[in-house]
Symmetry: C2
Subunit: 181 residues, 2 copies
């Protein structure tokens, strides 16, 4: 796949990779510590063939790496690469924007916290020092006041990206957006 957008534009290039309903959700899952095919499927709700396709695409683009575990069997883990982890500030930005503009105050499903102070992050700015490596390693994502039980259970576990956790039973329901659609 060469990508649908032919424009010379950094945003169009991004959309060629992430401009669909599932890819970024799969990356989110990877940050939540999900590594197994079946866990991605259960936790995102994506169909298996589509999930298979998107995982391959992410592996092709070196956002994830596929590692064969289990001596001979069909057992793999998908891990975030360094490139994949570099998406963290972007995901954090998306959470912050969504919380401010899509959810009523006090109903945010997830929150971005400063790891240092524990305070909720509400806004962000570009950093002008081009010599520094990526920052935003000092951010955590935790369940917000609008999180349901399933979400809360998964987000009370640790830092982001998290190490792998076992496959608990989850069923997600009802969002509750500020503006309808």
């Amino acid at each position: 796949m060469v990508g649908k957008h032919k424009q010379t534009c950094s945003i169009a290039g991004f959309l060629n990779l992430f401009g669909d309903a599932w890819t970024l959700l799969i990356v989110r899952e990877a940050f939540y510590g999900t590594t197994r095919f079946s866990d991605f499927q259960r936790r995102t709700g994506a169909a298996k063939n589509l999930l298979s396709d998107r995982l391959s695409k992410l592996v092709d683009h070196e956002i994830l790496e596929k590692v064969d575990i289990g001596a001979t069997g069909a057992h793999y883990v998908y891990n975030l690469t360094a490139k994949g982890q570099s998406l963290k500030p972007l995901l954090a930005s998306i959470i912050v924007w969504s919380n401010e503009h899509l959810y009523p105050d006090g109903q945010e499903p997830t929150l971005v916290l400063s790891r240092e102070t524990g305070e909720v992050v509400h806004s962000f700015e570009m950093k002008f020092d081009s010599l520094q490596p990526h920052v935003a390693q000092d951010l955590d994502v935790v369940a917000g006041p609008g999180a349901n039980e399933a979400t809360r259970k998964r987000l009370t576990v640790g830092p982001w990206p998290a190490s792998q956790r076992g496959p608990e039973n989850e069923t997600e329901e009802t969002p509750e957006l500020k503006k309808e659609a």
Copy 2:
């Protein structure tokens, strides 16, 4: 539309609005100063019915506002609302990430500059002061070394978001990604 993702998750909520190939590209166009239906169509390449649908959705969500100009005729402009303009840091983040990870050095189609220093912005960090309004008003987006003529012509004009510009003739071509797909 209620949204495809039912999960209680700020990222899923975002994807319910922006998780497709065109919506964010239309918002980008709005930042580039595009306001008219036909200009959106020509500059994004989206089919008219899909563009119509997406513009309505963005108006519903108050990212854009539709203003009737021209006394009686079918003449409208779509303007970014304050909520729409609040997406600027997110779009800037996307450009910065794409430039670092999708394009070879020196072939970035668009660049994010500090308005103050004129320097290229390479990374960003969250701002922990929750009392401040959105920042990143001091950023400009300009054509990068990898921009083609069409892109360059449109991006040499001014600040971002730009005021409306006339409909020049553009035809976009060939991207050139670091990793194939």
